[in-house]
């Protein structure tokens, strides 16, 4: 009995802290989502069952936000992965000042999202933005473009910012993975007559498979949950053109004061993400 209890006793402090900072808020969110909790009606919190969920799922803004979330996650993670992988391959090669380049590439990742949002908002600004000024002076644009004020360019503008912010994560993670692949594999392949692309496809990609899956999974969850950049750059606008699901939940709870509805949206988002993660892990195990 004592032997059985000992590991649990050692684990107890960690379990207690995890329960306090993870489990309790999750349970609280579930409780909120089943009640009509409006910030400015603190005395009225009636149980409403699944009403908040029904309201969320029948609201066209929910489906629009979900569609934006899909575009946001797929585009942002693809861009970040492509840029990061390219960066990792370049940084894995020997060149002068490589150590400085490796240090500098981390800068976007280390900057707070709010700062990045403000930097890119001003860079894309219609009146003073450096991208418009350069574009017009170099003859690439006939006139300034209000990037963040147009339906067809606003999401692209925000995606540009998150791609810049997130690609160092892939670059650093994949660089670490690249350095773990033994040089002998490339030497043997070269002797066997394999070209650069064959080496990349048959040695680099399989060698990085574990790192790629894990980093993609992590980044996908982070990007799907992130709302800070969009909040700073567009607030979800113009209209609702850049409103993603977490931003919809945030605005419903924080700006609208409807914590019950906001919690239901957050629970739905969590379930959707859990579904994707379980599917990815299951597929990985299968293969």
């Amino acid at each position: 009995m004592r032997r059985w209890a000992t590991p649990w006793l050692f684990l107890a402090p960690a379990l207690l802290v995890t329960a306090l900072i993870v489990l309790l808020p999750v349970l609280n969110a579930l409780w909120l989502s089943l009640h009509d909790v409006v910030l400015f009606r603190p005395r009225l919190r009636p149980f409403t069952g699944l009403a908040n969920y029904v309201l969320a799922l029948t609201d066209p803004v929910f489906w629009e936000s979900l569609r934006h979330s899909l575009v946001w996650v797929v585009s942002a993670v693809s861009l970040q992965f492509t840029l990061g992988f390219t960066g990792a391959l370049l940084l894995n090669r020997a060149f002068a000042w490589r150590s400085i380049a490796r240090a500098l590439i981390v800068v976007p990742w280390a900057l707070p999202s709010v700062i990045i949002g403000l930097i890119w908002t001003w860079m894309l600004d219609f009146n003073l933005g450096v991208l418009n000024v350069l574009g017009v002076r170099l003859g690439l644009l006939s006139a300034s473009i209000p990037w963040l004020a147009q339906l067809d360019t606003a999401m692209a503008g925000v995606l540009l910012a998150i791609a810049w912010q997130g690609f160092p994560f892939f670059a650093i993670t994949l660089l670490a993975g690249l350095q773990a692949i033994p040089d002998e594999h490339y030497e043997a392949a070269e002797i066997d007559g394999a070209g650069i692309f064959q080496q990349f496809w048959h040695i680099t990609v399989p060698g990085l498979a574990e790192v790629i899956v894990t980093s993609l999974l992590l980044r996908m969850i982070w990007v799907a949950n992130s709302l800070d950049l969009i909040l700073v750059m567009t607030g979800g606008g113009p209209g609702t053109a850049t409103q993603t699901l977490p931003l919809h939940a945030f605005l419903t709870a924080w700006s609208g004061g409807n914590y019950g509805q906001g919690a239901a949206l957050a629970v739905i988002l969590t379930l959707l993400l859990l579904g994707v993660v379980v599917l990815m892990l299951w597929r990985r195990r299968e293969t």
Binding site: L39, F40, R41, P42, D125, F126, N127, L128, S144, I145, P146, L148, A149, Q150, L151, T234, G235, G236, G237, P238, G239, T240, L251, W254, S255, G256, G257
Partner: protein, 404 residues
């Protein structure tokens, strides 16, 4: 005898701590505030008040504004959590919600016995009366939105400042060309204030059926067409906010914009007499709507020292103190005595503000107003400006939000 003396001495000694004048600990009043100018502080005011009222200490807490939404949500959560301030700055758009929370203390008893009451105009007291007839808000500062006009640009085109909507459109068209636009429209956060003079300017009112009345629908189409059809606004107008409309006007990229006296000194410093302010355009027969921008103080119901809190907020609204306060806030004094000798802004900007007071109005004091100003107005207006929805759809959404 000796024994009696001893007893008397002992009694005197034991009573000494009670008889000695005790230094009373000052009452601390927490006051939440926000100034547009981040460099402005209320330190001078607090020091002057504490000198005059040594029994009260003011703990002034600068709360991030975040377009108003952040301030409001912080206020609600702190009040619900029981950690709210004793008093703080509030706006009309959250009056209904604060009333619903029973978070406000009625000020009528104090106001009626307050010596400074007659120094505040009847117009302001009328606007500061809640739907239940009580007064919860103490007037502190105000602005009325007016129209900035670049007189020098208009003069070059042989035009005069527009006073009605037809003239406004023709002037805006004449001022548009190249990298200059006639009107700096504010489609982003806070833009509802400069939209209302257009929509309610010909007689429509924000009452049941008002948003979808023929006048309101026609005027809203006029407003949306300024951007979509006539293209007299910068292409970034759907998301332009305070900084963009002010900077565009200062950079001569726009010739007209709707704002208020808090930017008057900046405009005068940039253009001198080449810029002026006039009341917003009016409809036929002089009908019009000038958005009243309020700034008030409230004493919260949970305050343990409401009398001391009232002393502070009433002191801030007294003639010379209110002038000193508005020197930091950059807005207009609420007192008649302060306004008579007002030197903080150029006279023409004060005149435009005062001339707009008779048509100064506010949105309904209902719970939906906060939602309207924070999310519903910008989202739907931006959609209409970008052609995602029609102008009439936008007005139907507003009608539904306010009146079901």
């Amino acid at each position: 005898m000796k024994r009696r003396n001893l007893l008397a001495g002992a009694a005197a000694l034991s009573a000494a701590p009670l008889a000695a004048p005790r230094a009373q600990k000052p009452v601390t009043i927490r006051w939440w505030y926000h100034f547009d100018d981040p460099k402005a502080t209320p330190d001078e005011l607090v020091a002057a008040f504490e000198k005059a009222n040594p029994d009260i200490k003011i703990q002034a807490e600068n709360i991030p504004w975040g377009g108003g939404g952040d301030y409001d949500t912080r206020l609600y959560t702190s009040l619900i959590a029981g950690n709210g301030p004793d008093t703080g700055m509030v706006k009309f758009n959250n009056l209904a919600r604060l009333m619903e929370m029973e978070a406000l203390r009625p000020l009528d008893k104090w106001v009626d016995g307050w010596a400074g009451k007659s120094d505040i105009s009847a117009d302001l007291w009328r606007l500061h009366t809640a739907p239940d007839g009580k007064r919860y808000y103490m007037p502190l500062q105000y602005v009325v939105l007016y129209l900035y006009v670049r007189l020098d640009l208009l003069a070059k085109a042989g035009l005069k400042a527009p006073t009605n909507f037809d003239d406004f459109l023709s002037t805006a068209k004449a001022m548009t060309g190249g990298e200059q636009w006639g009107f700096g429209m504010r489609g982003g956060s806070g833009g509802h204030d400069s939209w209302m003079p257009f929509v309610f300017g010909t007689g429509a009112k924000p009452v049941k059926g008002g948003f979808v009345s023929p006048q309101a629908l026609a005027q809203n189409r006029y407003f949306i067409d300024l951007y979509r059809t006539h293209k007299v606004c910068p292409p970034s107008a759907p998301t332009d906010s305070f900084l963009q409309i002010v900077n565009n006007l200062k950079a001569s990229r726009t010739a007209m914009a709707v704002h208020h006296i808090s930017t008057a000194n900046d405009m005068h410093a940039t253009f001198g007499d080449a810029i002026t302010a006039i009341p917003v355009p009016r409809g036929p027969g002089g009908t019009g709507w000038a958005t009243f921008g309020d700034g008030s103080n409230a004493v919260f119901a949970a305050s343990k020292n409401p009398e001391a809190a009232w002393k502070w907020v009433s002191w801030l609204s007294e003639g010379p103190n209110n002038v000193l306060y508005n020197k930091a806030a950059g807005q207009m004094t609420v007192t008649n005595s302060g306004a008579a000798n007002w030197t903080l802004h150029q006279r023409r900007f004060v005149d435009a503000t005062v001339q707009s007071l008779p048509i100064a109005s506010i949105l309904p004091n209902v719970s939906a107003t906060a939602d309207f100003t924070r999310t519903v107005w910008p989202q739907n207006t931006q959609k209409a400006l970008l052609g995602e929805i029609g102008p009439d759809d936008m007005m139907r959404t507003f009608e539904k939000l306010f009146f079901g």
